[in-house]
């Protein structure tokens, strides 16, 4: 064994990176055989730090030591040679190859591809609790198993220190517990883990040591046995942690959005992406859609926005817009906060005022009208300044490029824009994903106020606390269907998580699921369909 | 047989109309002079017995004048000196004026056109030569026509000549045009006399009127010898796309196709693409006919010269030389209106000796064309 007690030491890591947050003088020491959690809000710089440790990016300043020796990683292969492996948040597996092939791909030189390799894979699979036959195709595996395959992959390459980047974001609570069991077992065998998360309960449950990162710099370490979640959160945000509140209902009986029989065939004739989706959102109501990512939420939103052509009817404010263009739907009063603002919400190199025009190019105050479709740039700029002030967008002014803003400020701009022009309906897809806590609270507050004014909101979120906290009612989506209803005032994240997996026993446990006959039927149908088959991880991923 | 033809020729010279050959039934004609193989399937007509006194050899050559005072400018077409073809022929004419007319080499200037250049670039090039005092100036290629019309009007005291164009109407512009179809007729006849498969090919660089003259003459000449002959004519690029003059690879592919299709003699009028035609002939063990210059003697083709049966000569060199000579003598009216067979402005090459055995036939056709007994079309009939 090497003499140093630290498997990994980072000192003075600084990265001036044209991203959301740079790393600024980060220090981090990871003891061997421990689970070391790195906490921080989304965009705090955790991922950048891990990319530096894994050799994907090179630090501008600072040193990395592995087992006491200073190393310089030029690429991930250097990091792998030093015994560091990374399991990315988004899996890097080839669906059309088998488990064994995925593990061997690129590492054929280690143990060959014959019996030696099979033996080693079997050993490692046992270590991480991967019980599937290495000969099955990855596409037939569920998310948790895929994650185990990823872990086997890095172990196969000789990793003793494993970076888990937001490993729980794709898992439901039960799967998280299983993962933690695996991690604890491996820790007992001497593996070291770097556990990246911003979910504090999980961090406290698994970590031996916590380092908190805020705004690109390490603000301190904490002992999970003594620190409270609230204390951790305050370290992370430097202020009080807000939480979404359940407020008195503002739901009216005026229908704003009615979706009936929405159907969308899968790519290449696979499972349908959407199957018979019916829902109604009333004025003043927040309808939450829960579901493991990739079960049709993205497609549902895009179908309602007219970005994808789907069968069925979409009625907004009493007007059938099923065949209308995206722009016409927007003009009918639909605001849209897309799940990925950098790809779907913003023009990165354009100034903020030009981004203000996107989606509003046909309406005042942006459009001046006329035969040529003239734009009023002055009005766009003035209205951008209004959004900046009203939604607390931290920017020097409306003329900077959107890419220059941090994620939270970008998102506030998008939210402000989509609430412009008095929308009747807001489609909010992961509205607080990747934004800092301050911005998150602001966005929650904005949504709550808009709801009070009578806005109908369709909320899609992977953050179950957010979903439960904001929604007036929740529907669970699984494999393109709405399979269960839940009452946010009584449901727990665990119950919701069970329903999201489509599991037979937990579906019935979802509070309020049986309140309507239709929902009960849907639940039953899915139960039958789920029996005996593996859950597919991201059926919609390829289409995005 | 050779004797009989010699006899016929003698008879021609005696200005007697001898119809001995024409009276023959083509079906029973034995293989023509060059038909040293089993060409029985290729019925060949005998060479015409033409009117006497039309022997082309008697070109009234002007005495060499002293051109040492002249500054001669040449504006080449695309490719310039070294294209192994058209521009080189003009360059050879210039060399000859230096060698024989006393033109001082330092007093000559050669400029070349660029690919895809605009009309005004051509005009600028001519103006440059004018500005530097060159007189006469020879524009090589019909692409200069419009520009020359403009520049000649600007500089009425400068003498210009333009090769391949007769549309510029100005007193100080001399057209130097050629009867390419006549020379092509002769090589067409040569091809028909030499083919063993009774099948020949023509490859034109670009499908434009100038090259169609080559095709027309070649086809007519071949059919005059062997009416049933197969002629496979192909162009490398359509009108307006000049790549066909500079695409040896395409020339090789097309020629190979023609050889595979049965032709055993292919005539090219495709500029630098001819290189590929010769390569294809060499690979196929067949023959090819060159164009413009005596390509048997072009150094660039030294490795393929053994497949070059003959070349259709377009004596741009003669025209340039004669023009400079006439300017030196002070009288360009002595120049022929068209450089045709009668003034040896076009012809066929004998380098390599591959057509020596059919020379009498070819000369008989030549005489018939000069005498007007045969009129060669300038447009392909097909």
């Amino acid at each position: 064994m090497p003499e140093s007690e630290f498997a990994v030491e980072l000192a003075g890591i600084t990265k001036r990176f044209p991203g959301v947050v740079a790393n600024d003088d980060i220090a981090l020491r990871v003891r061997r055989g421990q689970v070391h959690a790195i906490c921080g809000e989304n965009g705090a710089g955790k991922s950048t730090l891990m990319k530096i440790l894994y050799g994907i990016q090179q630090p501008d300043e600072g040193t990395i030591s592995v087992d006491g020796a200073v190393v310089g990683f030029r690429s991930p292969s250097d990091a792998i040679k030093a015994g560091i492996g990374m399991v990315h948040q988004h899996f890097m597996l080839a669906d059309n190859l088998t488990v064994a092939e995925n593990i061997l791909l690129g590492a054929e030189a280690l143990h060959g591809i014959g019996g030696g390799a099979r033996k080693r894979i079997a050993e490692l699979a046992h270590v991480v609790g991967l019980e599937t036959d290495p000969g099955v195709l990855v596409e037939s595996l569920g998310v948790a198993d895929r994650q185990r395959v990823e872990i086997v992959k890095v172990l196969y390459r000789g990793a003793r220190t494993i970076i888990l980047d937001e490993p729980t974001s794709v898992l439901v609570p039960q799967e998280v517990d299983e993962l933690f069991d695996t991690v604890r077992g491996m820790r007992a065998e001497g593996f070291t883990f770097l556990f990246i998360s911003h979910k504090l309960d999980e961090v406290r449950a698994i970590a031996d040591q916590i380092t908190v990162i805020r705004r690109g710099t390490s603000v301190g370490t904490a002992d999970p046995r003594t620190v409270t979640t609230r204390q951790l959160a305050e370290m992370m945000v430097g202020s009080e942690l807000p939480s979404p509140q359940t407020r008195e209902s503002t739901v009216t009986d005026r229908e704003v959005l009615r979706v009936e029989g929405l159907e969308l065939a899968g790519d290449g004739g696979g499972c349908p992406l959407l199957a018979g989706v019916d829902l109604v959102v009333h004025a003043g109501e927040v309808l939450g859609i829960a579901g493991v990512e990739g079960n049709g939420q993205t497609e549902l939103v895009e179908a309602i926005m007219g970005i994808r052509r789907a069968g069925g009817t979409v009625v907004v404010g009493g007007r059938d817009v099923s065949r209308a263009s995206t722009l016409a739907r927007r003009e009918a009063g639909v605001g849209y906060i897309p799940e990925d603002r950098t790809r779907y919400g913003l023009l990165a190199t354009q100034p903020l005022w030009a981004n203000r025009m996107l989606g509003y190019q046909s309406r005042p105050p942006v459009a001046r009208g006329g035969f040529l479709g003239l734009l009023d740039r002055g009005a766009a700029r003035r209205d951008t300044e209004r959004i900046i002030a009203e939604f607390d967008v931290r920017t020097p002014g409306p003329d900077v490029a959107a890419a220059a803003l941090s994620g939270g400020n970008q998102q506030k701009l998008v939210v402000g824009r989509e609430l412009s022009g008095d929308p009747v309906l807001l489609i909010a897809s992961h509205p607080t994903r990747g934004v800092d806590v301050g911005a998150q609270a602001g966005i929650w507050d904005v949504l709550a106020r808009a709801r009070a004014r009578g806005l109908a909101v369709l909320l899609i979120s992977a953050d179950l606390d957010e979903l439960i906290g904001l929604s007036d009612s929740i529907k669970v989506m699984f494999r393109g269907r709405l399979v269960a209803d839940a009452d946010p005032s009584t449901v727990t994240p665990e119950q919701l998580g069970s329903a999201m997996t489509g599991a037979a026993t937990t579906g019935a446990a979802t509070t309020g699921a049986a309140t309507t006959g239709a929902a009960g039927t849907a639940t039953a149908t899915t139960d039958a369909g789920a029996t005996g088959t593996h859950r597919r991880a991201h059926p919609g991923q390829g289409a995005r | 047989m050779r004797n009989r033809r010699a006899l016929a020729l003698a008879a021609l010279l005696a200005s007697a109309v001898v119809l001995v050959g024409c009276a023959r039934d083509t079906g029973t004609t034995p293989p023509a002079a060059g038909g040293d193989a089993a060409a029985g399937e290729c019925a060949r007509n005998p060479a015409p017995a033409a009117a006497g006194g039309a022997a082309a050899t008697a070109v009234p050559a002007l005495p060499n004048a002293d051109a040492s005072a002249l500054k001669v400018g040449l504006a080449y077409d695309i490719g310039g000196r070294g294209d192994g073809s058209f521009n080189d022929a003009a360059a050879a004419g210039l060399e000859k004026t230096i060698a024989e007319l006393g033109v001082v080499k330092e007093n000559t200037k050669e400029l070349a056109a660029a690919v895809n250049e605009s009309e005004d670039a051509a005009a600028t090039r001519l103006r440059q030569l004018v500005a530097e005092g060159y007189n006469p100036i020879v524009a090589v290629g019909f692409k200069y026509a419009t520009a020359l019309g403009t520049v000649a009007a600007e500089s009425p005291d400068v003498r210009f000549a333009i090769v391949d164009d007769s549309t510029v109407e100005a007193p100080n512009v001399t057209p130097l045009i050629f009867a390419e179809e006549q020379g092509s007729f002769l090589v067409g006849a040569a091809a028909a006399l030499k083919t063993q498969a009774c099948s020949v090919g023509f490859i034109g660089g670009v499908e434009q009127p100038l090259i169609q003259k080559f095709q027309a003459g070649f086809e007519q000449g071949a059919k005059a010898v062997a009416p049933e002959i197969q002629i496979d004519s192909t162009y490398l690029s359509p009108a307006g796309d000049f790549s066909g003059f500079n695409d040896a690879a395409k020339g090789q592919v097309v020629a190979t196709g023609q050889f595979d299709g049965g032709a055993d003699v292919v005539y090219h009028a495709a500029g630098a693409s001819g290189q590929g035609v010769f390569q294809a002939a060499k690979a196929a063990g067949k023959s090819a006919i060159g164009v413009d210059s005596d390509q048997y003697n072009v150094p660039a083709y030294a490795d393929v010269k053994d497949v070059i049966l003959t070349s259709m000569l377009k004596r741009v060199d003669v025209a340039v030389f004669d023009y400079v000579n006439a300017v030196a003598a002070g009288d360009t009216s002595t120049l022929p209106e068209i450089f045709d067979l009668s003034v040896d402005g076009v012809g066929y090459a004998v380098s390599g000796g591959k057509v020596d055995d059919i020379a009498t036939d070819l000369d008989a056709y030549k005489a018939a064309i000069i005498s007007g007994q045969i009129t060669v079309d300038t447009e392909p009939t097909s």
Binding site: R215, I307, R343, R377, A401, S406 | A114, E207, G240
Partner: protein, 363 residues
Amino acid sequence: MKRIRSVLLPPALAIVFAALLCAVALVISGDSPLTALGAMITQVGEGTTAVDIINSGAIYYVAALAVAIGFQMKLFNIGIEGQFRLAACVAAIVGGALVLPPVIHTIVIILVAAAVGALWAGIAALLKAYRGVSEVISTIMLNFIATGLIAFLIRRDTFGLLQGNNISTAPIPESGRFPGISFGSSGTIFGMVFVAALLGVGYWYMLGRTRFGFELRASGESPTAATAGGVDARRMVIIALLLSGAVAGLVGIPELVGRDFAYTLTSPQGYGFTGIAVALLGRNHPVGIALGALLWAFLDKSALALDNVGVPREIVLIMQGSVVLSVVVAYEIVRRYELAAEQRRVSAQLRAVPVPEQQEVRS
């Protein structure tokens, strides 16, 4: 100020770099770069060269505008060449056949050219919008088809007339011609030069002030965001390519109605490809393209002088090639640098805003 610097610095650097590269090439081949440069600059004053530069510059400008319209939404209309040649050919045939009063005759010729250009680009547009065929492939192929079609149209048995060894369409009568501004022996500036300038103004206005221009740029910047913002991607592809083709159709018109009055075998080619280079050089900006077009025309026209001083004319090709390459590289470097600088500036400015306590350690 900073903006102007960031716009002007890259091309200036690129030109200097390209010039140095050429100088090195000249020195290696044993020629004097100064002589060459001197000859090229002197040439501008000779004969009609100055006017030729303006005229050719205008043609390059129109071609580059056509390319730039496509570039704005990341469409690479490589078929400007075919579109302009076919348009010029058809416009020449129509213009030569019609009898119309002056002005109207000219306008008809121009409109026919724009329509033919748009039509030809429209084929690629429909293939792209409805069949997903890459416009790069389809427009290249359409270039070949255009060459064949032109060859057919100017055959002697269709619309061609034999002029010596050349073939030409019927000449456009006086009424269809576009008078220029004559400078006597220094040449005549095409009237179409001013139309080209107007096109540039129209392009600038369309891009910055109209909904279409905004949607065009949005589609180019991020097709996904544009779609989410209600921009109909298919419609944009079609309109952008039609517009690009219509402008491309005008490329051959300055020479047609200002000098040649007929389409011939030897009518110039290659403007479409020059347009691509100039659009890259000018970064799709109407003023940048204008400067690029003039630079390109200067290099083209002055290159003729190099023959006089015995310098290989091909040096200009090296210059043109290296200037485009280095401009593209320089802009990309400056763009990245400026984005990073802006991000730094924004975060620095925001850091100055009170941030909660920096260090706290708990255990």
